[in-house]
Amino acid sequence: LPQLTEDEMADIKKEAVERLRPYLCDKIIAERHFDYLRAKRILTREDTEEISCRTSNKKKTGKMLDYLAENPRGLDVLIESIQHGKIQRFIIEKITDEVQKVRNERLEALKAGASC
């Protein structure tokens, strides 16, 4: 059975976020997560200012996801922040299921590649 590396895992998370982008932009209020993401050094003050410049919440969250995508720990810490907030925990199920889906696709592809 093929094993996934940290790099592949980071790539899978990125892909899952891209697929969920419309959903996440709709559900997540970017500014609620600034404090947590800054405390964990995922966002800088400049990043949060840049995000806050956007006109709508959808655009703010979209920009925040762009920044998170640059960090391999980005999605993990966003999930922690959602847990921390204690509301909207249903989003975690949605994200982890999507990660699982992408992950299974990758594993299938790796397996197919290995048997060639």
Partner: protein, 100 residues
């Protein structure tokens, strides 16, 4: 042996079983947890479900493995698990247990 605790299953069997249950379909680990929770002995809480689901973020993590471990801790036997797997209609998973 059908009274064997599921945590005492051989590693290759657990591995294969988790691979089958980690698939994202309506017969996967979430559905299993739902059916399992109808049985008071093994009830899985929302927090526990969330903990299981977060395992998918680790390269070697498996939500199914965490769920099975929880069930085993609560005394779930191979026979119990086989019944649950029949209930969710996961024939492939039932087959994994038959090869023990």
């Amino acid at each position: 042996h059908s009274l064997l605790n599921i945590n005492d299953l051989r590693e290759p069997i657990l591995k294969k079983l988790c691979e089958v249950l980690d698939k994202t379909n309506n017969k996967g680990w979430r559905k299993l947890a739902e059916v399992v929770s109808d049985d008071r002995r093994f009830k899985v809480s929302g927090d526990e479900m969330e903990k299981c689901s977060l395992k998918v973020l680790d390269p070697e993590g498996s939500p199914s493995r965490s769920l099975l471990w929880l069930m085993g801790e609560r005394g779930c036997s191979v026979r119990n698990l086989t019944d649950f797997l029949h209930k969710i209609g996961n024939v492939e998973a039932v087959q994994c247990l038959k090869t023990q």
